[in-house]
């Protein structure tokens, strides 16, 4: 951690929630320090002037790569294939955890 940009365990708890990562207290403590080290190191970029620079998100130079909106049967899964790696299935469907509470 640096003085300029300290991360707190509260920050780490918030990021862990956003990232859907379950952390125990020891892990959260360790990550507070380690992510802090990385973040303060990458902050070095702030010293570079980039006022009139546009961002680069990809380097191919290609735009709007399109294809016909047609079904490609060679890459279709059967229902059995689509479910082949699922741990919990029921009648040909994925079983997921309940997200809605009963009243």
């Amino acid at each position: 951690m640096t003085k300029s940009d300290p991360l707190t365990t509260n920050d780490i708890d918030k990021i862990a929630r956003l990232a859907n990562l379950p952390l125990n207290e020891a892990q959260a403590r360790e990550l507070t320090e380690q992510v802090g080290v990385t973040v303060s190191y990458v902050s070095e970029l702030q010293t570079l002037a980039t006022d009139n620079v546009t961002e680069t998100s990809q380097v191919t130079g290609m735009e709007n790569v399109l294809r016909e909106d047609e079904i490609d049967t060679t890459r279709m899964f059967s229902q059995e294939e689509a479910l082949s790696n699922a741990k919990r299935t029921h009648n040909g469907f994925f079983v997921v955890d309940r997200v809605l509470e009963e009243k």
Partner: protein
């Protein structure tokens, strides 16, 4: 050993029936049985009977196969989907995952008649430079088993150095093909972004990921790249540019070629043994008629910060799909290093910090592109070390985010810009550990790099040296 021969020669022998694919495959499995327990390079070994059956089928039909890779054994980093063969990305999350489809690269190699013998160890999800951040135990360096085989693709590199196979397929996001190549004394091509389809490769950071060959020589890599490169309708970022005949163009002379040597790569961070080896390589290129000039690439030190914003950001997004519902295990199974990168990336993308980190890094990425474009408009290639340090001892890079990041100092900038880079063996340190160099070229200049590499390998014999483990029985 047969497996010491170049692909071109093996292929000729297969066609003239002086050697069979069964002979080659059997030799590889014997070698694996003798030495794999010392290295731990495989996550999944294809069973011997399956591979031999494929080899027999190739031997019977060899005259009908156009590809020089027919009957040749290869391995893949475990980041590629291989239909019916377990694929883990070295993470317990995918411990029992059997892909229902294949990566384009795998499909092309199967169609060529090459024979897959294993899925190889790596840092889980590509996160690391030492194949220690894996759920399957670290891969040991064939040159010194107390040291790391590099990463993230330590498994395929160690397997080639140990003569378990002819070639391997790696994946390079920040150095994952080149760093293990350097530490195992093998050759490898990190291709131009888009040169090879990413379809079916498990994504680390999508705007940086590239798929490429690793083998004993530049020429062998050229044979493999010729087979796997090209546009793919299933990957919209794959380039429609025609694939040059790399193996025909590899004989091009290096006379008059201009090579840049940026002074920033030779600072205090660099191990003096590596520096000395690169300076010797410089003389080899000069003796071949190339012109080597010292130049400056002032942005270099900002490469690691840009990479460690962009790559974690993209990986936090890519890995968010692993929710354990449709396939795979729970998110608590991510390794410590995975969690560090997911957390760093999520932070960099989070509201209030996005402009300061992610957007800023994307802008600096543009600065890198201009700086490299300018330099490469005057030079055919840039010569530099691959890693600042010799192969690390186990534990040295773990749990120290700074050390871990600095191992990538010389490799990550190439991914940020999208350029190709050929990694080649260029010497040994006092304790008989291998040293690698890289030649970086313009977008889609793989052919030029292969030719320079081939020239170098005609004039040197570093690439023919084998770890003592290979010759001992």
């Amino acid at each position: 050993m047969l497996i010491d021969l170049p692909i071109s020669e093996l292929s000729e022998k297969l066609r003239s029936k002086t050697v069979t694919s069964v002979d080659i495959i059997s030799e590889c499995y014997d070698q694996i049985e003798a030495h794999e327990s010392k290295l731990n390079s495989f996550i999944t070994l294809v069973d011997r009977e399956t591979a031999i059956a494929k080899a027999k089928a190739i031997d019977e039909t060899i005259a009908t196969h156009a590809s020089p890779l027919a009957g040749i054994p290869y391995v893949m980093k475990d980041a590629y989907l291989t239909r019916g063969v377990r694929t883990t990305a070295a993470s317990k999350i995918l411990d029992s995952f059997i892909p229902p489809y294949s990566a384009t690269v795998h499909r092309k190699l199967e169609e060529a008649g090459a024979i897959l013998i294993g899925k190889m160890n790596m840092d889980a999800w590509g996160h690391g430079a030492s194949t220690e951040n894996t759920d399957y135990g670290p891969t040991k360096n064939p040159w010194d088993q107390e040291r790391s085989a590099g990463g993230s693709g330590g498994g395929p590199a160690a397997a080639i150095a140990a003569r378990f196979c002819s070639f391997g397929i790696g994946e390079d996001t920040g150095g994952s093909i080149r760093n293990p190549a350097a530490w195992n004394n093998i050759s490898a091509m990190k291709v131009t972004y888009g040169r090879v389809s990413r379809y079916g490769a498990i994504a680390y950071a999508s705007s940086l990921d590239t798929m490429g060959p690793t083998a004993k020589t530049a020429q062998d890599c050229a044979y493999v790249l010729e087979t796997i490169a090209g546009v793919d309708p299933y990957d919209a970022t794959s380039s429609p540019k025609p694939v040059p005949p790399y193996t025909k163009e590899i004989g091009a002379s290096s006379k008059g070629k201009k090579i840049a040597l940026p002074s920033e790569f030779f600072g205090d961070a660099l191990d003096p043994e590596i520096k000395a080896a690169i300076m010797e390589a410089r003389e080899v290129f000069e003796s071949a008629g190339a012109e080597v000039t010292e130049v400056s690439l002032p942005l270099l030190e900002y490469g690691v910060p840009v990479y460690y914003i962009l790559a974690p950001s993209e990986t936090s997004s890519n890995l968010s799909r692993y929710d354990g519902v449709r396939y795979g295990g729970k998110r608590s199974l991510f390794t410590k290093e995975n969690k560090r990168r997911i957390m760093t990336g999520t932070y960099a993308l989070s509201s209030g910090y996005y402009d300061a980190y992610y957007k800023k890094a994307q802008k600096v990425r543009s600065l890198f592109i201009s700086e490299y474009t300018k330099l490469l408009s005057q030079y055919d290639a840039i010569l530099s070390p691959v890693t600042p340090i010799m192969p690390s001892k186990f534990g040295e890079l773990l749990d120290d985010p700074m050390k871990n990041m600095m191992a990538d100092l010389y490799t990550v900038t190439v991914n940020i810009v999208g350029l190709p880079s050929l990694s080649l063996p260029c010497g040994f340190g006092k304790t008989n550990l291998p040293i690698g160099m890289q030649l970086v070229g313009n977008m889609f200049s793989e052919s030029t790099l292969f030719a320079l590499g081939h020239t170098y390998q005609q004039k040197t014999d570093w690439h023919t040296r084998q770890p003592t483990l290979v010759s001992s029985k």
